[in-house]
């Protein structure tokens, strides 16, 4: 047995030798049964090692990826993947301008002399409009933009309208839905009840009377959505929180309020889109051990998908499919399968579908199970 060869057997096994060295080892092995045995033993050690399991506790991988995502989201400063994109500022500015410029034009067309006397808009509003316009043109960095918007007090007239609206509706509605996309993004990295709410409020406050009709529509939609959420999501979640402590509580985070309280505080302080966002993490943590719970969770995800935007909506849509598949697995109800097939087809037809493979896998997972 040659020491030189023995030292290189490991490399020979890994095919990491240059051809000349390799040839020389092979020549030696032909005449040396000891080295040949040794090589076989080294290979057997590798094989035996590969046969040793390295298993995680049951269920460990279920929420692994969402925990990683939560940790990434918790440290946005280092990479800030969802840093408020420039277009959201432009959009916020456009909303402000879209509201204020027509108001100014209206005034001018009503009063050809352009003398701002007896204006229908309270005079205090005007300096604010002027101060806001440059903000729109300059597209300032996010923080600055938020501060500026947040520090701009709503116009008294609009404030009155909002106060009236708040009085007339119980419980007070979260702010608005559709035009709130920029606020949702800000919400991601702003303090939950902080500046983003201020932006939302000041934009709301600046909305013109022409928008009142749309506000009504939005409120109606929002009320429907809240109703759905209560019916579908929170009922079983509350039950779960009670029955599944402390695991659930730990997963939700010690600082997180109980779901019901979260709902209440969200309704009071946050726009609906932010409420939807609050629920995202909670939905991720939820298990559905029965078909009925899976159905409820599926519909909760569906609601979420309709409220969220971008990647989060995409994830919610895929969860609708996965939880839908789970509902069918648990309940074997043909209706669940039919719905899953329809949902999958709808998802795959979307041009913005990001996770087609996962969607197909969800459907595939139950098609194989079909009785």
């Amino acid at each position: 047995m040659s020491a030189h060869v023995v030292d290189r057997l490991s490399e020979y096994l890994d095919d990491e030798l240059v051809p000349a060295e390799r040839a020389s080892i092979e020549a030696h092995l032909r005449d040396c049964p000891d080295c040949t045995t040794r090589l076989e033993e080294l290979a057997a050690v590798d094989d035996l090692a590969r046969a040793l399991p390295a298993e995680a506790p049951d269920g460990y991988f279920t929420d692994f990826s969402s925990r990683v995502r939560a940790r990434v989201e918790a440290k946005p400063a280092q990479r800030a993947p969802f840093r408020l994109p420039a277009w959201t500022l432009a959009a916020a500015a456009a909303i402000a301008l879209g509201v204020t410029v027509p108001a100014l034009l209206r005034r001018q067309s009503l009063e050809p002399s352009a003398v701002p006397h007896a204006a229908p808009v309270p005079t205090q509003l005007e300096p604010q409009l002027q101060s806001r316009a440059p903000a729109a043109a300059d597209a300032p960095p996010a923080r600055e933009g938020e501060n500026r918007a947040a520090s701009t007090a709503p116009a008294p007239a609009a404030q009155d309208r909002r106060q009236r609206a708040e009085k007339s509706l119980a419980p007070p509605p979260p702010q608005s839905l559709a035009p709130r996309a920029p606020a949702v993004h800000q919400e991601e990295y702003a303090e939950p009840h902080g500046l983003a709410g201020g932006v939302a409020e000041s934009l709301e406050g600046a909305s013109s009377p022409a928008e009142t009709g749309r506000d009504g529509e939005r409120d109606a939609l929002k009320a429907d959505t809240d109703e759905q959420m209560r019916a579908l999501g929170y009922v079983s979640m509350e039950k779960k929180a009670k029955t599944e402590a402390p695991g659930f509580a730990a997963a939700a985070g010690a600082a997180a309020p109980a779901p019901k309280r979260a709902l209440e505080s969200a309704r009071k302080d946050q726009p609906t889109a932010a409420l939807a966002r609050t629920r995202f993490g909670e939905l991720l943590d939820r298990a559905a051990p029965t078909a009925a719970e899976a159905r409820a969770l599926r519909e909760a995800w569906r609601v979420h998908a309709s409220l969220a935007s971008g990647g989060e909506a995409d994830e919610a849509r895929v969860r609708v499919l996965e939880v839908g598949a789970q509902a069918y697995r648990l309940g074997r109800d043909g209706a669940d399968l039919a719905l899953l097939e329809k949902d999958t087809a709808a998802y795959l037809a979307r041009p913005d579908a990001l996770q087609a493979a996962r969607a197909r896998a969800a459907l595939q997972s139950v098609r194989g199970d079909r009785p």
């Binding site: 096994l13 590969r50 390295a54 990647g311």
Partner: protein, 203 residues
């Protein structure tokens, strides 16, 4: 899951490339899908090196977070899995070398517990040999174990391992050779019977 499989699946997989591109552009949900695809492998590498589930969990999560942060410097045409595994191995070695790891000691034996399994080698390998090997692996210095894990379980090349762990090729070679020799000696009584010579030795 070896290099060949890797080349056939990840590298050529347009879906994965697309996900990686989106993730590199800041799409956290695309990245989450990537995590889902590789979580078991990355965790496996971490667990085989650190030998404790709680630590392996930390290491695996941290490996993905580091990958996320470094994604804009990663060549998206390359397979993600081996890269993430190298990051995990690196973190795992750092942990094993740390004073904290020495204080923690080894667990009551969750990791690599010889268990009844359905794999075809079960008939050949008796539980005792597996137990001996598991303990021999535990007794290896963490640095040697990391090289062994990346080579034997992940089938990474010496060059990849050297780059991943910040070592020279010569160091990779010698650590691997020493690790294998220790394991071989530990298993010698079983190997001598010839019963364990499952699988060929020819590369």
């Amino acid at each position: 899951m070896g290099r060949v499989t890797e080349l056939l699946t990840s590298e050529a997989d347009p879906v994965e490339r697309d996900l990686l591109r989106k993730a590199a552009g800041g799409n956290l949900f695309a990245f989450e899908e990537i995590v889902r695809r590789y979580q078991r492998r990355v965790y496996g590498v971490a667990l085989r090196i650190v030998r404790r589930h709680d630590v392996a969990d930390d290491v695996a999560q941290e490996a993905f977070i580091r990958a996320w942060k470094a994604l804009d410097t990663f060549d998206l045409e390359r397979p993600f899995g081996p890269w993430a595994c190298r990051i995990a191995a690196n973190l795992a070695v750092n942990h094993v070398r740390s004073p904290r790891a020495r204080e923690e000691g080894l667990p009551e034996g969750h990791a690599e517990q010889p268990a009844v399994s359905q794999d075809p080698l079960t008939g050949v390998l008796d539980a005792e040999a597996r137990d001996v090997l598991a303990r021999a692996l535990e007794s290896l210095p963490g640095e040697q174990r990391a090289v062994f894990v990346l080579r034997v379980y992940e089938e990474q090349s010496y060059k990849e391992i050297a780059e991943g762990l910040g070592l020279s090729m010569g160091t990779v070679m010698s650590r691997l050779s020493r690790a294998r020799e220790k394991l071989r000696l530990a298993l010698a009584p079983y190997l001598a019977t010839g019963a364990l010579r499952a699988g060929g030795g020819e590369p």
